[in-house]
Amino acid sequence: MPIYLQRQIDELKKQILALSAVVEETFHEAIRSLEHTDVSLADTVIARDHTVNEMEVDLEEECLKILALHQPVAIDLRFIVAVLKINNDLERISDISANIAQRTLGLATFNPIPIPFALFDMAEKVESMLKKSLDSLVNLDIELARDVCQLDDEVDAMHKENYSLVKNRIRQYPEQLDPLIEYLSVSRHLERVADLTTNIAEDILYMIDGEIIRHTY
């Protein structure tokens, strides 16, 4: 029986990693669509969200099935619990990517304006956080996961700064209000994604150490 359980857990691992690949790519494409004001790419991203939702449901059902059938303990149990939560977080990231793609569509309708803050630096940072958290999921690397938790603070600070930058710009050019608000939303979305990657990293730390470290960073 344990061999059967092990096989199912391996299968589960494959599934969550496949999901993570799709989500990482979706996020990357959302940022790319924003960068190039690429409407068709943005449409792809929004359409992709549906697939991710399906994958999320499948994965969750798989987790529940293993929990009900095998009643795993210790590391197996922690793994499944972590997968359940990471699954959720990944789906949220995909949702937010779709939202960012929506912002692309929104921005495409306005005249281009200079971006009020270092949007792509921020996006790059968030993307590297996502990459690191997923890498740490693959390799069960505690150090990488801790890195992610620390990077979150930087992104939070950037978001806070962006707020005042956008406010100033609105005061300066009130006619650019609409696109500026879109950019502000993007900043908030990015900040949310950073939070979610932090959650993933924390779940990974929980899976490895068995210690819940949420709310301590």
Binding site: K13, Q15, L17, S20, A21, E24, E25, R32, E35, H36
Partner: protein
């Protein structure tokens, strides 16, 4: 537990020897005792006959006194007991006993037989002398009349004693033979088992993969033949292994040196093998990903989907894969199932072709055609439009007509500029293609000065200061007019995109390998999206603005080609809002001798 060889053969060895000894002893002792008994009975018979002959008369005469004396005398002389018995069974005389004391002997088996006229023989226990005795009785005849019986007797204990001595000797020699046999057995089994033991060690060596050592050929024929056979086996195995290793290495080398990425996965989507090209394309290390599942090793959704598709379809599959990264990679993938010898599937083979460059060239070509038609079409449309307006009567309105003609003139100038630039480009390209651009070793400073003077007017309009730092006397192999053109183009751009009262910096530095002329401005900068394509013909980072600022869209393409004609290159680094730096790098050593 397995017995050692020696314990296999020694007990059976000893058992057979023991059996032989016992059998021999038994046969020998029987033969011996038979022989002895026969001899004894024959002797007794002879003696009895002799005595009977002598005493025949006494029996008839009834001289019993003489008989008694005779029996004692002869008995003592021959160490034999004699008994004389009448036909009635009455004992007349005895060597050992007083006849009067003895009972009637007619019932004794030997006597009974003798009374019938035969020779009677018997061996039994005698109560008289308390011993096993052999008796031989013969009838005494006088004138064919039975006169009595003469019985001779000897104790048979002598036989037992003789047999005992024989037994003792046999047992003694038996033990000796046993010991000898054990020694010989041990010796032989050692002789057989020691080479076997050595062979076992040798075979264990073979099993461990050390096929270079050979077994010693020794011992008996069978064992030495075995050793020879095993040596031959080792040599053959060694040869086979070497072939396998060589073939494996060949295959690996073939796979590794393929330009196409090759990726093999098993049915569980685990990576069996990945070649260097594939590892480089997918940005993974070939050693690390080996044996891991594709989901774990390569986080590329398109590729994962393609692998599952290749594994689930019988026929070969084909598809495009986009690898998102800092730069997108476009791959063309072919997948087919891997089948074993018996036809069962054990995985899939994915071949990846990098078509990014093709895609990019395709894009460039498409954009070029679109851009060039756009750039040429715009002025022509404008000119045509104004001509039509003039034809429609605007020519009468002197003031507008002059204004229209001015605009037409500007557009014609623009067309001219574009065509001039295209011509320069064509010339530079042609020259550098045919390697006939004349290069001379000239100081750089005057070239830069001239370029600065050419842009001075334009800079003065925007109150921009141009500063140049160039080590005096620095020379390079250049074509002065072309290099000047390149610097002018870079300067024009820098001035155009700088804010008023700004600054442009020209820095010339020399390093070991090359000379770098960098033009730096603190203008609006360029988004990094545009950087890779900036030097394409007619490529515009910001379409609306750059056309407003003038320029043909060919300036940087010309710079690039001039740099290439000099054997150098041009690069750009830029940050939005912080300005840009264009660096023109020329090789310090001449690319060819003029």
């Amino acid at each position: 537990m397995r017995l050692r060889f020696i314990w296999q053969i020694l007990p059976s060895f000893l058992f057979i020897i023991l059996l032989t000894l016992v059998l021999l002893t038994w046969l020998f002792s029987r033969a011996l005792s038979n022989f002895y008994l026969e001899q004894t009975s024959a002797g007794l018979e002879t003696r009895a006959s002799l005595v009977a002959f002598q005493v025949a008369d006494s029996f008839t005469t009834g001289d019993f006194e003489q008989l008694d004396a005779l029996s004692i005398l002869i008995g003592e002389e021959t160490a034999t007991r004699f008994t004389f018995i009448l036909p009635s069974g009455v004992v007349l005389a005895d060597t050992l006993e007083d006849p009067a004391q003895m009972d009637n002997h007619a019932g004794r088996p030997e006597v009974a037989k003798a009374l019938k006229g035969d020779i009677g023989k018997s061996t039994r226990y005698s109560n008289t002398v308390h011993n096993n005795m052999m008796y031989v009785a013969i009838p005494v005849k006088n004138n064919n009349q039975l006169a009595g019986v003469v019985r001779a007797a000897l104790p048979v204990t002598a036989i037992d004693l003789a047999l005992d001595a024989v037994y003792r000797q046999i047992i003694l020699s038996g033990i000796l033979v046993l010991l000898l046999a054990a020694g010989v057995g041990i010796f032989i089994s050692r002789r057989i088992s020691r080479p076997l033991e050595r062979m076992r060690l040798g075979a264990e060596n073979f099993a461990r993969g050390d096929l270079s050592k050979r077994l010693r050929v020794e011992g008996v024929q069978e064992i030495s033949a075995l050793a020879t056979a095993m040596n031959a086996m080792a040599a053959e195995l060694n040869e086979k292994l070497k072939t396998v290793v060589r073939q494996h290495n060949e295959q690996k080398a073939v796979l590794a040196s393929m330009v196409e990425g090759v990726l093999a996965v098993d049915t569980n989507e685990r990576i069996i093998r990945i070649n260097r090209a594939a590892a480089a394309l997918l940005e993974v290390s070939a050693e690390e990903v080996q044996g891991r599942s594709i989901q774990e090793a390569i986080r590329k959704a398109d590729l994962q989907r393609f692998v599952s598709r290749a594994l689930s379809t019988r026929d070969p599959v084909e598809g495009d894969i986009v690898l998102r990264g800092s730069e997108d990679l476009y791959l063309q993938a072919h997948g087919s199932l891997l089948r074993g010898e018996s036809g069962q599937e054990f995985g899939a083979l994915i071949v990846l072709n990098d078509v990014t460059r093709l895609r990019r060239l395709e894009n460039i070509r498409r954009d070029f055609v679109a851009n060039v038609s756009h750039e040429l079409k715009t002025p022509i449309t404008t000119i045509k439009g104004f001509i039509e307006t003039l034809q429609d009567g605007a020519i009468q309105d002197h003031q507008s007509a002059v204004q229209f003609l001015e605009i037409m003139m500007r557009q014609a100038d623009r067309l001219n500029e574009i065509i001039d630039d295209l011509l320069i480009l064509a010339r530079v390209e042609q020259n550098s293609d045919q390697d006939e651009l004349p290069l001379e070793n000239l100081p750089l400073n005057p070239v830069i000065e001239t370029a600065m003077q050419a842009c001075a007017k334009m800079a003065a309009e925007k109150q921009i200061t141009i500063e140049s730092y160039c080590p005096p006397g620095l020379t390079a192999h250049i074509n002065a007019p072309l290099l000047e053109q390149a610097v002018v183009n870079l300067l024009t751009n820098a001035i155009k995109y700088s804010p008023e009262q700004g600054k442009v910096l020209i820095e010339t530095t020399r390093s070991e390998k090359d000379i770098t002329i960098s033009v730096r401005d603190w203008g609006c900068g360029i988004d990094k999206v545009h950087l890779p394509r900036l030097f394409e013909r007619f490529y515009r980072a910001d379409k609306a603005r750059s056309r407003k600022l003038g320029g043909t869209g060919l300036g940087l393409a010309i710079v690039k080609h001039i740099a290439q004609a000099h054997g150098g290159e041009v690069t750009v680094s830029s940050k939005p809002g912080q300005g840009s730096t264009f660096s023109l790098r020329l090789p310090a050593k001449p690319i060819r001798t003029p």
